[in-house]
């Protein structure tokens, strides 16, 4: 082989091979810590990807999903042109149309619906990725609709709500400076590898690690202490830990005395949660509860790493997480270095150590100038606490009932009905819409219900602005031309804004001008950012400061950290929301519904991250799916499997009173006996159809995906999936 052939074989960039390296970021998963991509490009085509070493988060590495970027971009399932539905909804018959025809049709339909039924009857929905969210929110509000919704209706916002109810301003874990990290139901190794690496590094320098998780994970395997609770009992565990901390006087008495509200009632309430009671309620041995309380409370600086969804995917989720976050207040670990430090977000929920005008940009029309958001009646606490968006979990019902007002049209970006509980029910609700547009990279089952489908491009084919907690900022540039006729979601939004004739100067000025406007307080411009395709450190980063509450009150009604929520006090009588972080068992559980549990003896726990999948986004790739053969499958403990005569890869049926799905059995000790865990969103076995539409946390509207009741049967081999 000649030298050049060898260089080509190794995909070595340089003049000899004509292979060029271009910079981008990965947005296949979107934890708001996007990994940097080095794209090896030959003749305009990506031939290999690698992590960018410049990226302060990923530092040159990628996960299996990001490493699959090439298959993701070049998938045969990409939507190639705008499409107009020509068959019945769901059949999947479409005709290609031009962008002009598509966008003009959308603009005229939306304008007509707005005139006839009001702007609020048009919903704007953002699924993945998250880069276009500020622009879609502005589009919704400039259009006049309060109904900007996102996938954060089932992820993140309830966790944020719990923190806001306690502290007003959420604080993130300062892992690098913590002496003890309490990971409460997160597995960053499979969801957010940079955090995982930070934990490994901190562990090597001596940080203690406590992991609360019903599952055994690589994170729990690394822990000094793993509290393997029964799903949905997080609140009881947190209260029992608080009991030990208070009893042993390990709490921060100065902080409690000076900066908190409702401590006495809280202290009174946790009296009952002795370690023994904690063990009874959670399954975690009392001795471990004590050990965890001492480990967390006796070090100087301890941080809590929450998860955006696992704890709040319980019908008692927000209350449970309130009890967890109360621990940070109890021990004075809120807004301190090495604790849960408050870092105000700069852009898309992410702190970038720069001031921006994002809020003003996205809230182009104040809430008060618009009708109530979807879910306003049902989830009043959401409307009080969550400023960003409507609660989309109410969307299927409002489409179906037209109450309190009809929803006529949906403009979805990456909308996937499988995100909702009773996904089949929502699929049917979609059929009732007058007009439905979905923008996606791939032709999904949801797109088949749309009147018009628009092809979006991937992150490497577009520009997007992202901030990083390290004080880093990137405005990516397309590394390759968009495939087929696909376009960036942001381009689509700006084009639609124009065709809708919105009187919005920033939409009229274009993306770069909008970014300049958003970043104006930081002094950074789009032109400057374009000179740094891999991103740059921000000039004059805001220095992290602790205990800011000494100068500025907590953003709560009492102005203090609240063991007892003043917001919830308002609803205590009307809605029955307890003002203390009261523990109640999950809506369907052995404790709450013992009769049901007789017939449905297993706890159904769904959606924990697998390292190769993120929601439905990488199922179609052979590289990622090769890492998990025999998928879709459900995890069950080998002891349960032996009892039921189920072997590895046998087909089983998971049955709830609502519905049933058939999947392969995956026997693993990662799940406890008595628990079935199943990944969500798969076309061949969509576990969300097993949940009722209203199986929601009444506080947040979040679905109880992490604990319901089910039974398991070995499927008759003749059953066709």
């Amino acid at each position: 082989m000649s030298d050049v052939q060898r260089l080509l074989q190794g995909k070595i960039p340089g003049a000899a091979t004509g292979i060029e390296v271009k910079k981008s970021i990965c947005a296949i998963c979107d934890p708001l810590t996007q990994c940097g991509l080095d794209l090896y490009i030959q003749d305009g085509r990506i031939i290999k990807v690698e992590g960018s070493k410049e990226n302060p988060y990923s530092k040159g590495t990628l996960c299996s999903k990001g490493a699959s970027t090439r298959q993701y971009v070049y998938s045969d399932d990409r939507i190639q042109t705008p499409l107009k539905r020509v068959g019945p909804r769901g059949e999947g018959k479409f005709e290609p149309i031009t962008w002009d025809e598509a966008l003009d049709t959308i603009a005229s339909q939306l304008k007509q619906i707005k005139e006839q039924a009001g702007p609020e009857t048009v919903g704007f929905f953002a699924g993945y990725a998250k880069f276009f969210r500020p622009f879609l929110k502005r589009l919704a509000h400039s259009f006049g609709s309060p109904n900007y919704m996102t996938e954060s209706s089932s992820c993140y916002q309830a966790m944020s709500m719990a923190q806001k109810l306690v502290f007003g301003r959420p604080g993130g874990p300062d892992i690098m400076r913590a002496d003890c990290l309490l990971v409460w139901s997160a597995n960053p190794f499979h969801a957010n590898p940079g955090n995982g690496r930070a934990i490994q590094n901190a562990k090597e320098r001596g940080m203690k690690l406590i992991v609360v998780d019903p599952r055994v994970t690589p994170t729990s395997a690394l822990a000094d202490l793993h509290l393997q609770l029964r799903p949905g009992t997080d609140g009881a565990l947190a209260l029992a830990i608080a009991h030990v901390i208070i009893k042993e006087k390990l709490h921060d008495q100065d902080f409690v005395a000076s900066y908190t509200y409702g401590f006495d009632e809280y202290k009174e309430y946790v009296q009952a949660f002795t370690p023994a009671k904690g063990e009874e309620l959670t399954g975690v041995p009392a001795s471990k509860i004590q050990e965890a309380a001492r480990m967390y409370a006796s070090v100087k600086r301890a941080a809590i790493l929450p998860s955006a969804s696992s704890v709040v995917h319980h019908t008692n989720g927000v209350q449970n997480y309130r009890a967890v976050f109360a621990l940070a207040g109890l021990t004075g670990n809120y807004d301190v270095l090495g604790g849960n430090l408050v870092n105000p977000p700069s852009f898309i929920h992410t702190p970038g150590l720069i001031p921006t005008r994002e809020h003003d940009f996205v809230q182009s029309r104040p809430w008060s100038d618009m009708p109530p958001r979807i879910g306003a009646d049902r989830f009043p606490v959401w409307m009080d606490i969550i400023d960003e968006e409507a609660q989309a979990m109410h969307l299927p019902e409002q489409i179906r009932t037209g109450s309190p007002y009809p929803v006529k049209a949906l403009l979805g970006f990456g909308l996937n009905y499988r995100m909702w509980p009773d996904s089949e029910g929502f699929r049917k609700s979609l059929e009732m819409l007058d007009f439905f547009v979905n923008v996606d990279i791939f032709m999904t089952d949801t797109c088949k219900y749309a009147d018009i489908v628009l092809p979006a491009c991937t992150s490497v084919e577009r520009s997007e602005l992202r901030c990083y907690g390290a004080g880093y900022i990137v405005f990516t540039q397309p590394a390759i031309a968009p495939r087929y006729q696909s376009r960036s979601d942001i381009d689509i939004i700006y084009d639609l804004a124009s065709r809708l004739g919105l009187d919005d100067p920033l939409f009229q000025a274009g993306l770069d001008a909008s970014i300049d406007w958003i970043l104006e307080p930081s002094g950074i411009t789009a032109a400057e950012l374009k000179k740094h395709p891999a991103g740059m450190f921000v000039p004059n980063p805001i220095k992290p400061q602790e205990r800011k509450y000494r100068e500025i009150d907590f953003a709560t009604l009492s102005g203090k950290m609240e063991f007892k929520s003043k917001v919830l006090e308002k609803y205590e009588d009307k809605s029955g929301h307890a003002a203390l972080p009261v523990y109640t068992p999950p809506k369907y559980s052995l404790e709450a519904t013992p009769e049901l549990a007789k017939d449905y003896p297993f706890i159904l726990n769904t959606g924990s991250r697998l390292p190769m999948f993120v929601h439905t986004r990488t199922f179609r790739l052979s590289w990622t799916s090769s890492l998990r053969p025999n998928f879709p499958s459900a995890d069950m403990n080998p002891t349960d499997a032996v009892r039921l005569g189920i072997r590895q890869d046998d087909t089983i049926r998971i049955i709830t009173p609502k519905d049933a799905v058939s999947v392969k059995a995956n026997l693993t000790g990662m799940v406890q006996p008595g628990v079935i865990h199943m990944y969500h969103g798969h076309q061949a076995a969509d576990v969300n159809r097993l949940f009722e539409e209203d199986y929601l946390d009444p506080l947040s509207g979040f679905p109880g995906f992490k604990s319901a009741l089910c039974k398991v049967e070995k499927a008759d081999e003749r059953v066709v999936l």
């Binding site: 080998p638 072997r647 590895q648 890869d649 026997l667």
Partner: protein, 423 residues
């Protein structure tokens, strides 16, 4: 009788197989400058007997039978004096001299016996018919390949061995009807447990192979253009165009004075490949090293075993210290798109676990808490790890382990064993 110089230190290598060439390589790598004489019955370069069936099947060219290149190349690279077509008649360990068939006498200082093995033909009537073949040597391969040009329609393979199965495969691939016969009651009698053999036999029958087990061939008779093969107790003979006998091999020790050199089935050697006679070593299919499972001497007729033994012999002959502690019987044979693997002892066990899901077959055997045997079908990915598990269990310090990562290995081994135990 001619004599070569007795003044120079000579090393004599009897045989031209892979054990011989590994010995020569090791000698030179260790800096040995002595004169090396190599004696071979034939004039072919080092060949691999296992490749003969691949050659007959047309899967490889003739030249690929010889993985170490030509004799000339070896002679030049390692400075070896080749004596081809020179069968050794006498190895005189008292006088330290070798005498060949054509009268050449060569004195030696150290000698390696690496004369290999030859196929066994049972002493029955008609066994020397020109229509009866064996499959071991280059000549065997050429002979059978020529015979196949006559387009036989039905053949008899005697011996359900690793060679036998490869012959069955190549005959079936050529569209020839095959009868596979063995005195034993199942396939791979030495390496397979009856349960595993049953799985394989089913697959062979699906591939149109007639199996005739538990009966001995008693007589062969030429009849017209073919052969009649008579089996014990059967009145009806098997009518075939040709027969191939592959019931095993026997060590080539005719020139060895059994009064001087300890021999059993082969030449007995210790861990350094030394025989009981100082300066005389043996390696390869003629050498009987230690079976790590039984602790007893056993010939493990494997290409890699011969190479390790040859290399160990060479290092020790060069004055260095090296040991090859022994081996366990193990075989993998890939035929008709399936793999059969036999490792260790599948006959004696006090615990057995079997995994069989219709696609993959794994059977493990234990003795006194140690894994001592395994059978696998279509599970080659586990075979190396299981083999290693056996060896590691039996032998704490194994030369194979040098430079590897024991932790990774231990974990892999545990994973496979757990999977089988849980199944």
């Amino acid at each position: 009788m001619r004599e070569l110089s007795k003044m120079v230190k000579n090393i004599a290598i009897i045989g031209n197989g892979c054990a011989a060439v590994e010995c020569i390589k090791a000698l030179r790598e260790c800096g040995c400058n002595d004169t090396i004489h190599l004696f071979s019955d034939h004039s072919y370069p080092v060949y691999n007997p296992m490749l003969t069936t691949y050659y007959v099947a047309g899967k490889i060219d003739f030249s690929k039978l010889f993985p170490f290149g030509t004799n000339d190349e070896l002679a030049r690279t390692f400075n070896v004096r080749f004596h081809t077509r020179s069968p050794v008649m006498t190895l005189d360990t008292t006088e330290k001299v070798i005498v060949t068939a054509d009268g050449l006498a060569v004195s030696y200082d150290r000698c390696l016996i690496a004369s290999g093995a030859s196929p066994v033909r049972p002493p029955i009537e008609g066994i020397h018919s020109g229509r009866v073949y064996t499959m071991r040597t280059v000549e065997d391969a050429i002979g059978l390949k020529t015979a196949l040009e006559q387009k036989p329609t039905r053949v008899l393979v005697v011996g359900a061995s690793m060679v036998g199965i490869k012959l069955v495969e190549l005959f079936r691939a050529a569209g020839i009807d095959v009868c596979l016969a063995d005195l034993a009651t199942h396939l791979f009698p030495a390496a397979a447990h009856p349960d595993c053999a049953a799985v394989l036999a089913e697959r062979l029958r699906e591939n149109g192979v007639d199996l005739r087990f538990g009966t001995s061939l008693t007589r062969l008779e030429e009849s017209g253009a073919g052969l009649l093969a008579y089996f014990a107790g059967d009145t009806m003979p098997e009518r075939v165009d040709l027969a191939v006998i592959c019931i095993g091999v026997r060590a080539n020790t005719a020139f060895v004075d059994r009064n001087c050199i300890d021999t059993a089935a082969g030449v007995l050697v210790n861990e350094r490949m030394e025989t009981n006679v100082h300066g005389v070593y043996a390696a390869g299919d003629v050498a009987q090293g230690r079976n790590l499972l039984t602790g007893q001497p056993q010939i493990v007729g494997l290409w890699s075993n011969a190479r390790y033994q040859g290399r160990t012999a060479g290092r020790n002959m060069a004055g260095e210290h090296d040991v090859f502690p022994g081996n366990i019987p193990h075989n993998i044979t890939h035929f008709m798109n399936m793999d059969f693997i036999g490792i260790g002892d599948v006959k004696n066990y006090d615990k057995m676990r079997k995994y069989w899901d219709g696609n993959h077959f794994i059977q493990l055997f234990w003795q006194e808490g140690l894994i001592t045997g395994a059978n696998l079908v279509d599970s080659y990915t586990s075979s190396g790890v299981i083999r290693q598990a056996l060896i590691k269990g039996l032998q704490q310090s194994c030369v194979h382990n040098q430079g590897t990562m024991p932790l990774v290995q231990d974990l892999l081994i545990r994973k496979i064993i757990m999977e089988v135990e849980q199944a």
